[in-house]
């Protein structure tokens, strides 16, 4: 299945740096359109801050709605980066090479976006500061480190800082490359950013050893982040459907499912938009789809366990909740949609080799997954809150307002906007990884056939 062919370094530079050196024609108009959407979104958020959360559909008893769902959704997407980049680096999977940078980038930008949602959701975002800093020294009032609501910012800022640094370290060789290809102010910029990169054995060694070490450090962070997000819910016994021991790994594997799918979406776009057919090949989609089948099936098993052990206790309120979630209108529609888009349709497609190697179909199937995964979060968060509970004197169904829907749409535009901006200045496919795969790719002769082979260093 090897579709790799020999590509010399000059050609690699020319093609993979086309975003920076030879900006495509579609780039400026797309960025302007997205910029307008982004500006409208910020304007609406401004209105919301000014008028208050009344402009959303949030009301007693559902106070966690679309914003929190979307927050969890984007944190989930952010898991793509480290999953792909760290696990595949550690397992030395060759097919990771064109994927890592884009995946790490998705981590950084989706986390940035995720962080905005709790801020918006707070209604008066500036008061978030009270969560984090001691706000009343006189009375010695301190932030409560025992609250999961303070774990979140700690975990997410750790992950954001870590993945940004990781991204930067892996960019160093490519920054050196860009420095060599540019003139004027760009050259000055890249010269500073590249820190005087030369490409001697010491630097390459640190690049690889450091990459592996950072991967090994980032993996536990990646697992912890979504676990901590899940504990926002799971350590709350008061809300039915939330207090489950499986939430942490369930959220993590769901995040990997949605995140890797988002990487597929992004890779397809990259291949189409920048015409990187030589670098992002069907074999990469095939490998990602195989990985996704395993991840999705694991995720389904966790979903099953979550549901099973929710009803295992035979507590009447919990049974009622699950009855509503699965069988009552309109939740039943959402549930069926979630099951079909999250698992049945995409995995059914991926089981076919022809689909795995068809980039358009992979693109659409990966979009399905993320529709399903967004719904999953919505179905976890909202139904439990919408139930009648002791001390709550009113309850009603939650219906997100138009403004909330627009902000969800805005967040998609915002992430794309950031990605495109980044692509103007930095390569989305790591060039040195491509060249390395050329250096390390070889073949061995067995009988009459040449089998592709990979050089592994003795150690």
């Amino acid at each position: 299945m090897q579709q790799r062919r020999t590509i010399d370094q000059i050609h690699t530079n020319r093609v993979l740096l086309n975003g920076q050196l030879d900006t495509p024609k579609w780039w400026a108009p797309t960025v302007i359109v997205l910029g307008i959407i982004v500006a409208i979104g910020f304007f609406l958020i401004g209105i919301m801050v000014n008028k208050g959360l009344g402009v959303t559909g949030l009301s007693r008893p559902v106070y966690w709605g679309l914003f929190i769902t979307t927050f969890v959704f984007w944190v989930g997407i952010s898991h793509a980066g480290i999953m792909i980049s760290a696990i595949l680096r550690l397992s030395q999977a060759e097919w990771r090479r064109p994927v890592t940078r884009a995946a790490e980038l998705l981590t950084v930008f989706s986390l940035l976006t995720a962080l905005l949602f709790p801020l918006m959701h707070a209604g008066r975002p500036w008061r978030i500061i009270y969560f984090i800093l001691p706000y009343d020294f006189a009375r010695g009032i301190m932030p409560n480190v025992r609250s999961p609501l303070i774990w979140d910012p700690v975990a997410i800022s750790t992950y954001l800082t870590g993945s940004t640094l990781f991204l930067y370290i892996a960019l160093l060789p490519d920054l050196g490359n860009l420095r060599d290809r540019t003139t004027g102010w760009q050259n000055a910029l890249y010269t500073i950013l590249a820190l005087g990169w030369r490409g001697n054995p010491r630097q390459w060694k640190l690049q690889t050893v450091g990459g592996i070490l950072l991967s090994a450090l980032m993996l536990p962070i990646f697992v912890s982040v979504h676990s901590i997000v899940s504990w926002d819910f799971a350590v709350t016994p008061a809300v039915e459907g939330w207090h489950s021991t499986i939430f942490a790994p369930y959220f993590v594997i769901g995040a990997v499912h949605s995140g890797v799918s988002a990487v597929v979406t992004m890779m397809a776009l990259m291949r189409w938009l920048w015409k990187w057919e030589d670098f992002i090949r069907p074999e990469h989609f095939d490998a990602l789809a195989r990985l996704l089948i395993v991840v999705a099936t694991g995720w389904l098993a966790f979903t099953f366990l979550e549901l099973l052990f929710a009803v295992y206790g035979l507590d009447a309120p919990e049974l009622e909740l699950r009855d509503m979630q699965i069988f009552q209108w309109p939740w039943n529609l959402l549930f069926v949609t979630f099951l079909f888009t999250g698992y049945i349709i995409p995995v059914g497609m991926w089981l076919q080799k022809s689909v795995r190697n068809n980039i358009a179909l992979m693109f659409w199937s990966s979009l399905f997954v993320n529709i399903g995964m967004w719904l999953e979060r919505f179905m976890i968060i909202v139904p439990g809150l919408a139930r009648k509970t002791p001390f709550v004197y009113t309850w009603e169904a939650y219906r997100p307002s138009g403004l909330e829907w627009f902000i969800l749409f805005w967040s998609l535009a915002w992430v794309t906007f950031l990605m495109l901006l980044f692509s103007r200045f930095f390569p989305l496919v790591p060039l040195f990884e491509q060249k390395e795969s050329q250096t390390f790719g070889d073949s061995i002769k067995i009988g009459r056939v040449r089998v592709p082979a990979i050089v592994r260093e003795a150690d």
């Binding site: 000059i10 010695g140 301190m142 409560n144 030369r198 001697n200 010491r202 450090l217």
Partner: protein
């Protein structure tokens, strides 16, 4: 006065020969180096395998982060001793997440610092260089005294350098 000489090669094997030639001409390991646009298997040019102490950085960082986190979590809870759910004020499990995240954050930051330092970056005065190295040429660079520069140039040329640059 020391001088920096760069030989450029099309073929990696020639560059490896140039490294040998420099070694044979009596230049010390560490005064010459090979520059490539892509990583090669270690030792492919017969170069001295670089040593590093990267693994100390994350350990050091984690200890610092853990200590800070322990101070932060313990101090805030003691400063505002609010009993929750009948649990002790200093409950390890409630502090665990913060301890963990801060240790990891500090470990990652110190690793990144470690990578930069151990790579000998930022390199403010990097000497002679050629842009084509990132296009696939292999550079062999040597820093030596003025009087030995000619010996070096001869060694580099002897291995088949396509171009010699000096600075």
């Amino acid at each position: 006065m020391s001088k920096s000489v760069l030989g450029l090669y099309n073929d990696p094997n020639q560059a490896a020969d140039a490294m040998d030639a420099l070694k044979n001409a009596g230049f010390a390991q560490g005064t010459f180096d090979v520059l490539t646009g892509t990583p090669y298997p270690e030792g492919a040019f017969g170069e001295h395998v670089p040593q590093h102490r990267l693994f100390r950085f994350p350990a050091f960082g984690a200890i610092i982060g853990f200590t800070l986190a322990l101070f932060l979590t313990a101090a805030t809870q003691i400063a505002y001793p609010l009993v929750t759910g009948g649990k002790p004020i200093l409950s390890l499990f409630a502090m665990l997440v913060i301890l963990y995240e801060m240790s990891m954050l500090s470990a990652v930051i110190s690793t990144v610092v470690g990578i930069v330092i151990e790579s000998r970056l930022p390199n403010v005065n990097p000497g002679v260089y050629d842009n084509r190295i990132t296009e696939g040429l292999i550079g062999v660079v040597i820093t030596t005294d003025d009087d030995k520069a000619d010996t070096a140039i001869d060694a580099l040329n002897g291995a088949g350098a396509m171009e010699i640059k000096q600075a």
